[in-house]
């Protein structure tokens, strides 16, 4: 049976998908361009419908620490924010990763640095995929490029977060948060009972027990701490098998575009235009930014004459693309920053001057 079809904003869909996924708690703080997430939740009053807790915290620092408290109870908890708020959340992200807690954090990215602009950007790539907070850790990072994926990735992010007991980030941008598209919604999944949570979480969730369970990221003995780091690294190695990506017109491609999120949609248009001019261009779109689709970019990439990495930032993912192809083929950057969305013409022009001409 096909789910319910609606015309919705990306941010609204995040809220609706959370309710339908049986999320237990949302803790947020307003910031443009993602405030509709909490606004939609408040309007919908899910506490009456499913018992979901929705709370406006006093800051992003508080909201991510609320997420920590809820996650440590084995609950499905999430927050959302945009770049300056996501920066404030990095403290909590590191603690969640250190204590090995599952949660979902949505970052609807805007231009920066600093207060920056409220316009869409992909400038938080480094922060999201390289750790962001202190210490050696990673979060799983999913990059939707449509309102439908904003819906689908809420469930996917929770599944992965619980499977690996680690924070998962949905990294979208202001445009995907604000744009309206058709979306097929999921069916309702009931929230888990305390019994089900105890069963699913085994011995790590602190919901009251006689077993003296402790959730902590602290370990003063360096030799034990090193072991904990080794365990985390093993987990990150396991997570590599969760790589997701999309390929578009790659089979005969002489050239590749690599782009994620909104930029990937613009690339498809640019590919159409390039192919009309006789250039065989294909696209690889990383869907998981962490784990990064290194292997497919390597295997496809080294057979091409050049790669154009298209990003709405000053060139961040390009470093991972260059690493993937071990610099065996030319890799160039194209895009705009500061909250500006590049046009297909600009990308085509960059492709012709930097890749074909270069």
């Amino acid at each position: 049976m096909m789910g319910e079809l609606r015309l919705m904003k990306g941010n609204e869909v995040i809220a609706e998908a959370a309710i339908r996924a049986g999320v237990d708690g949302y803790f947020g703080y307003p910031i443009t361009p993602q405030s509709e997430v909490m606004e939609t939740l408040m309007l919908r009053k899910p506490w009456e419908e499913t018992g979901m807790v929705v709370l406006q915290a006093e800051s992003e620092v508080a909201s991510i620490n609320m997420v920590y408290g809820g996650a440590a109870c084995g609950k499905m908890v999430m927050t959302s924010s945009s770049s300056p708020g996501f920066s404030l959340m990095q403290e909590g992200m590191s603690y969640l990763a250190g204590a090995e807690l599952p949660c979902v954090v949505v970052n609807v990215v805007r231009g920066g640095p600093g207060l920056g602009t409220i316009q869409p950007s992909q400038a938080d790539y480094f922060q999201a995929v390289k750790g962001g907070g202190h210490g050696d850790y990673h979060a799983i990072v999913l990059a939707p490029n449509s309102v439908q994926e904003m819906n689908d990735f809420v469930t996917l992010a929770f599944d992965l977060a619980f499977k690996y007991r680690t924070p998962a980030v949905i990294l979208s941008d202001g445009a995907i948060g604000q744009m309206m598209e058709k979306v097929v919604l999921n069916d309702f999944v009931p929230r888990r009972t305390e019994e089900q949570i105890r069963k699913q979480c085994g011995d790590w969730c602190t919901i009251g027990s006689k077993n003296h369970r402790v959730v902590t990221s602290l370990e003063l003995d360096s030799s034990v701490m090193e072991k904990r780091n080794i365990e985390l690294l093993k987990k990150y190695a396991e997570i590599q098998k969760e790589v997701l990506f999309e390929e578009y017109m790659v089979d005969d491609a002489d050239y590749l575009f690599v782009a994620f999120g909104l930029a990937s949609r613009i690339c498809k248009k640019a590919i159409e235009m390039a192919r009309a001019k006789g250039h065989k261009v294909g696209l690889i779109r990383p869907i998981t930014l962490y784990p990064f689709p290194t292997k497919v970019i390597h295997d496809r990439g080294i057979k091409t004459k050049g790669i154009l990495c298209v990003e709405m930032n000053a060139g961040q993912m390009i470093e991972d693309v260059k690493l993937a192809v071990e610099c065996k083929v030319p890799v160039e950057w194209a895009g705009r920053y500061g909250g500006i969305i590049p046009s297909p013409d600009e990308i085509l022009e960059a492709f012709e001057t930097k890749i074909i001409g270069g």
Partner: protein, 267 residues
Amino acid sequence: MELKDIIKEENIVYKKSKLILDNVMHYCPGCSHGVIHKLIAEVIDEMDIQEKTIGVSPVGCSVFAYNYIDIDWQEAAHGRAPAVGTAIKRLLPEKFVFTYQGDGDLASIGAAEILHACNRGEDIVCIFVNNAIYGMTGGQMAPTTLVGMKTATTPYGRDVELNGYPMKMTELVAQLPGTCYVTRQSVETAAAVRKTKKAIRKAFENQKEKRGTSFIEVVSTCNSGWKVDPVKANKWMQDHMFKFYQLGDLKDATKPEGSEYEQYIKE
């Protein structure tokens, strides 16, 4: 009568709470943290809520509080315990949730979190150990350090022009409508210990009745940070700290006429 006749179950007048784990405490001799832990454990035990209680431990000397009381614990980031506790309680409203924080943790980096949790009236118990100094990091100035007090970062004594005034968190949170019970106690004498235990018990009872936030400050010593022996530390606290941080209930919503302090400020 021989000793073996005296050491009998029926003659026991006091023993360690069964919720206090056998781990060796890391606190300095004379530190107040251990006594306060003991009281919390006794209250949880007496109310028979071990399996229903979740503690949130702080950053500071009591960072390892979770090693000593046999309940479920979450270790929070510096200052964030009230936010963590908020979520636990909202998601598990039938459980008992308490936070445990020092003055650096609660009044400095975590000032926003505690004020907002109290203002929202979260149904939690907040235990605030005020020893007027940062113990763990080696005795630096805390927001609660008294004027003139020498610390590692106020080597010539706290100077108001340079460092501002000491902060009375308990008076601040008593102003907030979300708090139902706000009190300031101490643990340096047997009588004080008994009063503090009563306060902790009352706070947990308040939570049972869903009355809002209960906030208990325990004025304490840090003999290591203050660089005096425990006896001198107690004396200094009695002579100086109690003058500025006056003991007693500041707010008690369970009393229709209000606490003594509330009556006093009304007059």
